[in-house]
């Protein structure tokens, strides 16, 4: 039992507020130097009573070690820790514990209290060290990185790779969709991604002093970091009438030193108990009345829903929601009434303004669109600056990088890159290359391959191609899903975290039978990053449809589009020839992997992605091919599978996605907007939208049938006699909005039509050659859009202006004109 001084007792009483559920421990010099503490009876009881750990039930030995996550609570903020609990193999196995992070804050003699705060394991300091008056501080944010690096060093001794990998399970996609509660800490131990565009400047704005209330809207889908940002903003504030921690609640209210507190709508999808109809609109009105600040985490669905139900009772709330939703205020709302909403700073990712009443601002408003910028692109610069008598936002526009630009972009400047890099650093330190069977461990192979910064940068380039190919952006949740798949494959979907070691062991390719060994290897190789991110492992077919990561990544699986050629850094020249050559011939002796390496350049990054695992797999393949027992069907199947494996590994390590040429062109179109990147591409779009009747003559007219159901242009000399109009003077330009690109058709300086210029349309356009429109697997989807674009020429307004009626007869175009009506 630790005896406390009066001040320590007072500190403890203030901390626990009468709660007797706690345990104390004193940090000794020996404990700190040996990185181990005795788990006293008091600590053992506390852990057991709170169902955190039962030492009595724990077997001796490092392999039975358990790790419990928690949070240090200090004057300077909270930060996570891992409490390692074990009974050593030696002697009686007296219970021990160790907290690597404690070295950063503890001095010998410090007394710490182990307790629960909001049902979370928490350690608070009760006293400064004896004889040392230095204040014990939490590490500042600036030293956090250092802490993590030191932490890695500690963990290397204390935590094996399997437990660290097991901790990734909670980061794999498929977790709870419920917004994180404001009191929740982040998942300890893993890095957090940097704030998305506009979040930091909006946070600074929200924290700055103001005489009027501030309304901050964090807009975006689940997994975008809204609740995380909100939690940071209310951190340390006292909640008024605290909500329980058992359920997710719509709203929380916090005390502030000035004004009437902060009203936090943490999850606007949860209904309000107070406001049945249009709750967010009413909450806005309520905050205005009470002079309260507001933070609202809201998705676009809610914004649209509330925008549609108009009511004068909470008009300003609806105006504000419409402003957040699309920047426009519905004309159905009475604009003569006040208050009204004005905009002072518009951008793709952040918008700021005021609510004005009687000519005076009554609330400052800011909306941050947390998912407007890809997490695989650089975060655009934005800042909130305070001058003597004014304050304002400034920011640079969102810019999408071409593949060429990406190669020189440091991982640190991309949000997803930060997480990937830091996660790999944590895991790389835990690898023990000397451990038995390390060469058969696909997870180790993944960590080793991806620890090469160019290879992990290229992985992110492939993921970015997936975003463009599917017109969808990864959220932070999906980025974590991608990272988990890159490291542990689809294991979190199939196994519990404590099973994975056994899964690997049960598939070790160490039998006498070469074919069995190869089959075992196939299972293990399914966890390899280049396989698992495309669903190339043992995926259930439904996963390809519904797994949030695979749904995006399968679109750019390199084996969908293996372009022949030798890769020299430019996708235009192809890449797949060395792999095709490696699998040509009898395949009874040579190693396909060696064959590929003989053909590619010395600088090819593929050389760096190969690990002992891949060499062992390659050897296993060769042995299986040489086996006398192998059947033809098994041989074909193995060759097919292994060629896919090497193709994916090669392409992904080089940052080559399927349809890389099309994606690259889309990026160039975005970069060069409103112009086309080249005359060739412009001609391809011209052919796609208005194909010439005579394909070999690019200047040949394009004829649209006037009355057909489908506006398929008339082609060739033998087109059936039909009424048509000639469409010639069509020009194109592009425009961009965030990640979206649009194609505009201009006829005689009049915009006829505007169409989304997405990956599918680019793919369709690039398939056009020399005046001939091409056909791709996307044609049936793109055709209706193209036809509508063309049909814009056939609406009465356009027809009334045309004098280009035609009929094709015997390869010639006969004109006809219309007399004006006598009426």
């Amino acid at each position: 039992m630790i005896e406390l001084t009066a001040s320590e007792q007072s500190h403890l009483d203030g901390l626990l507020n009468g709660d007797q559920n706690y345990a104390l421990f004193r940090v000794t010099k020996t404990g700190l130097s040996k990185s181990i503490f005795d788990a006293t009876k008091e600590i053992r009881k506390f852990l057991r009573d709170n169902q955190l750990h039962d030492f009595d039930a724990q077997l001796q030995g490092q392999v039975h070690k358990k790790i419990v996550a928690g949070e240090f609570k200090t004057e300077n903020g909270n930060f996570p820790f891992f409490m390692h609990l074990n009974r050593p193999q030696s002697g009686n196995g007296d219970p021990r514990f160790w907290i690597p992070e404690i070295k950063e804050i503890a001095k010998p003699g410090n007394i710490f209290c182990l307790h629960l705060f909001e049902k979370r394991l928490t350690i608070s300091i009760i006293s400064a060290s004896v004889g040392d008056s230095t204040e014990v501080m939490a590490p500042s944010k600036a030293t956090n990185t250092k802490l993590e690096i030191m932490d890695i060093a500690n963990r290397q001794d204390q935590q094996d790779l399997w437990s660290m990998l097991g901790n990734l399970w909670e980061r794999a996609t498929g977790g709870s969709d419920v917004a994180a509660r404001p009191g929740d800490g982040g998942s300890p131990g893993w890095p957090s991604g940097p704030a998305t565009a506009g979040v930091d400047s909006a946070t600074k704005w929200f924290k700055a002093e103001s005489e009027i209330p501030k309304f901050l809207f964090l807009v975006g889908g689940p997994g975008g970091g809204k609740s995380f940002t909100a939690a940071k903003l209310v951190e340390g504030l006292k909640e008024i009438e605290p909500q329980g921690q058992d359920l997710a609640y719509r709203a929380h209210r916090y005390e502030t030193t000035s004004g009437d507190g902060i009203y936090l709508v943490n999850d606007a999808t949860i209904g309000s108990e107070i406001f049945e109809e249009n709750p967010l609109s009413q909450e806005i009105v309520d905050c205005l009345k009470r002079n309260s600040h507001l933070i609202a985490c809201v998705n676009r669905g809610i914004l649209v829903e509330e925008s549609n139900l108009l009511s004068e009772r909470y008009q300003i709330g609806q105006q504000l929601i419409q402003w957040v939703a699309n920047g426009n205020v519905d004309s159905d709302l009475d604009s003569s009434l006040t208050p009204q909403v004005t905009t002072t700073f518009p951008s793709d990712y952040l918008k700021a303004g005021f609510v004005i009443e009687g000519g005076k601002p009554v609330a400052e408003i800011t909306a941050v669109y947390v998912d407007s910028c890809s997490l695989l692109e650089k975060v655009p610069y934005s800042e909130f600056s305070i001058q003597e008598d004014s304050s304002s936002f400034e920011g640079k526009p969102y810019v999408i990088q071409t593949f060429g630009d990406r190669k020189t972009t440091p991982m640190d400047s991309i949000p997803a890159g930060v997480i990937l890099k830091e996660t790999l650093e944590l895991l790389a330190e835990a690898i023990d290359s000397d451990s038995p069977n390390a060469q058969y461990n696909p997870f180790v192979a993944n960590i080793k391959s991806l620890s090469n910064s160019q290879i992990s940068t290229n992985l992110l380039s492939v993921a970015r191609a997936a975003e463009i190919g599917s017109s969808t952006k990864f959220t932070y949740r999906e980025i974590w899903g991608l990272i988990c798949r890159s490291i542990v494959g689809n294991a979190p979907n199939v196994y519990n975290s404590d099973q994975i070691e056994k899964v690997i062991i049960s598939h070790l390719p160490i039998t006498e039978d070469a074919i069995d060994n190869f089959h075992n290897f196939q299972v293990l190789a399914g966890f390899r990053y280049s396989q698992s991110i495309f669903g190339g492992g043992s995926e259930k077919s439904n996963n390809l449809l519904f797994d949030p990561v695979l749904r995006l990544m399968k679109v750019v699986d390199p084996v969908l589009d293996s372009q022949p050629g030798l890769f020299t850094g430019d996708v235009e020249h192809g890449w797949a020839t060395p792999i095709v050559d490696a699998f040509s011939g009898p395949l009874t002796e040579g190693s396909p992997l060696e064959s590929v390496l003989q053909q590619i350049s010395q600088k090819d990054i593929f050389r760096n992605v190969i690990t002992p695992f891949d060499w062992a797999l390659d050897k296993s393949f060769v042995e299986a091919m040489q086996s006398e027992k192998i059947k033809d069907s098994q041989r074909s199947s193995a060759i097919y599978w292994y060629s896919m494996y090497i193709s994916r590994l090669y392409a992904t390590s080089n940052g080559i996605s399927a349809f890389a040429i099309e994606v690259s062109n889309w990026l160039n179109l975005w970069k060069m907007s409103p112009h086309f990147p080249s005359e060739t591409v412009e001609k391809q779009f011209t052919t796609l939208i208005r194909p010439p009747r005579i394909p070999d003559e690019l200047n040949s007219s394009s004829l649209l049938p006037v009355f057909d159901s489908r506006t398929e242009p008339l082609r060739g000399d033998n087109a059936r006699l039909k009424l048509a109009i000639r469409v010639n003077d069509v020009r194109f330009r592009t425009s961009r909005s965030g990640d979206s690109l649009f194609l505009h058709l201009i006829d005689h300086n009049l915009e006829v039509s505007k169409v989304l210029l997405d990956f599918a349309l680019v793919r369709e356009a690039l398939s056009c050659v020399e005046g001939y429109p091409g056909v791709t697997e996307l044609s049936k989807n793109v055709s209706p859009r193209l036809e509508r674009v063309r049909a814009a020429n056939l609406v009465p307004k356009m027809l009334s202006q045309t004098n280009e009626y035609r009929v094709v007869v015997d390869g010639k175009e006969e004109t006809f004109s219309l007399e004006r009506s006598s009426n």
Binding site: V219, G221, P222, G223, G224, N299, R300, G301, I302, L303, V304, E305, N308, D371, S471, T472, K473, T475, N542, L545, F546, P705, V706, F707, D708, S709, R710, R720, L721, K722, L723, S740, V755, L756, K780, N781, V782, S783, P784, R785, R788, A791, A792, L794, V795, P796, K797, L799, S800, Y805, V807, V809, E814, T815, F816, S817, L818, E819, R820, S821
Partner: protein, 465 residues
């Protein structure tokens, strides 16, 4: 209790819907030959005479084609093209959908004259085809809500007339073609009639607040508005109108049989039930299963077929009972209670609910309205909702333009944006409830929407024009 819908038949070609409306708009008379035999008009096909009908082809050929070309020229088309070639190019331009096994090909009902290049006898090959226009008018009337003015004179036909008038006023080429067709091809001298509302649905206002009837009324009014007529090319407008009419026709009857099904079960189960409760208890009348389900799960053929057949039988039983007991004028709750108290009726209904009596008319009417006709080629039908999978299965697999029409017309103005919530609401009225992800995917494939992780029902949907 018994919906006032006339008995339907399948409509052989989609053009039949507008053709029926056109014939209601301009003449109620029948075309007969010199011997008094009914004349069945078809645009392209083979002339023939049967016991009851004379099939006459309206497509101009030979000298008539030249004459038609000359008429067009004299009506306002200036060209050096020989009249027969001009005529042929026009004929080729206005051809409608040809089904795989069809014996004839209609003209696309781009204008009144072209709509009347065929009549319902020609389309159906029947001396007494169903009064399709009256059916559509009845469906439209059933969608009338109580707030609408009782003295409103809007009807399917009047709204169509307004739309085609606006089209002809703004499209000089079509105006000339309509005039020329009238002068040189039409078999009849058409005279406009006062477009009558259906009288069958009087007293039914507002009884089916979320139903295909309401969907049809709202959607037809939207499509025939000046804004939408101006925004769509002529043929596209006709295709859209046909799609709306096809859906209304099929879904109205599916709703009807589902209503009888629910009514029969309610009578068997309990003496007390209100109208509103019964509406609430109705099953989905169009079971649209998730696209990732197996083909057997997605198949609607069996479900809809037997529901249709049961519905016909239950309707007959209830109708007979009402006539026999003269209780048709009592209020719903009273009649329901009386029916529940009649054990003989209950026995008949119990048998009917398990019946598999062959009666194909209704099922075929529904099936042929919803199914995609030709899937490929120049006359491909992109406006169908159902698609065959082999000879056994029918699944909800709409053509790209089906979802385009349905979603765009949820918005009263072209060139605007609506959202998935609104589209879902309209689909629900129609009876179709696809999974949100399936719906968004359909909209994305049609190039009308871009999914967003957080937008849910708020995913923005652009109108197609």
């Amino acid at each position: 209790m018994i919906l006032p819908l006339p008995r339907p038949q399948y409509v052989a070609v989609p053009e039949g819907f507008i053709t029926a409306i056109a014939w209601r708009a301009f003449t109620a008379g029948e075309v007969k030959n010199e011997s008094g035999k009914k004349v069945a008009l078809r645009f392209r096909g083979t002339e023939a005479v049967t016991k009851t009908l004379e099939y006459r082809i309206t497509e101009p050929k030979g000298e008539l084609l030249t004459s038609f070309g000359e008429t067009v020229q004299s009506d306002g088309i200036n060209t050096l093209l020989p009249p027969d070639q001009l005529g042929e190019s026009i004929v080729n331009s206005v051809l409608g959908v040809k089904s795989d096994k069809g014996k004839f090909q209609p003209a696309s009902p781009l204008s009144p004259a072209w709509a009347m290049m065929q009549n319902m006898s020609g389309i159906q090959g029947s001396e007494n085809p169903p009064d399709l226009a009256e059916i559509l008018e009845t469906i439209f009337e059933l969608g009338l809500n109580q707030e609408e003015s009782a003295d409103n004179h809007q009807s399917v036909t009047s709204l169509w007339l307004e739309a085609v008038s606006a089209r002809l006023d703004s499209d000089r080429l079509l105006q000339i073609l309509d005039l020329a067709a009238d002068q040189s091809i039409s078999e009849i001298q058409r005279a406009p009639l006062d477009p009558q509302r259906s009288s069958k649905a009087i007293g039914w206002e507002g009884l089916f607040p979320s139903s295909p009837f309401v969907w049809f009324r709202e959607t037809w009014k939207t499509l025939t508005s000046a804004e939408w007529v101006e925004a769509l090319p002529a043929r596209v407008w006709v295709d859209w109108a046909t799609t709306v009419l096809r859906q209304a026709y099929a879904m109205a009857y599916l709703f009807e049989v589902t209503w009888y099904d629910a009514l029969a079960r309610s009578i068997l189960k309990s003496p007390e039930n209100t109208w509103e409760e019964l509406l609430f208890e109705m099953d989905d009348w169009f079971p649209w299963k998730p696209s990732n389900s197996g083909i057997e799960i997605r198949d609607v053929s069996s479900n809809l077929k037997w529901k249709s057949l049961r519905g016909v039988e239950i309707r007959e039983i209830l109708d007979d009972w009402l006539k026999a007991t003269s209780n048709g004028d009592e209020d719903f709750e009273t009649v329901h209670r009386m029916m529940h108290g009649d054990s003989a009726l209950r026995n008949k209904l119990a048998v009917a609910l398990g019946s598999r009596r062959e009666n194909k008319n209704l099922w075929e009417a529904i099936r042929y309205s919803l199914i995609t006709r030709e899937t490929q080629g120049p006359y491909a039908d992109h406006f169908g909702l159902l698609r065959s999978r082999g000879s056994r299965f029918l699944i909800a697999d709409p053509g790209t333009e089906w979802i385009t029409v349905i979603s765009s017309l949820t918005s009263s103005k072209p060139g605007s944006t609506t959202n998935v919530g609104k589209v879902t609401e309209h689909l629900k009225m129609l009876g179709a409830c696809p999974e949100p992800q399936d719906l968004i995917q359909l909209l994305e494939l049609a190039g009308l929407a871009r999914g967003s992780a957080d937008a849910d029902q708020g995913v923005a949907v652009e109108t197609a024009y």
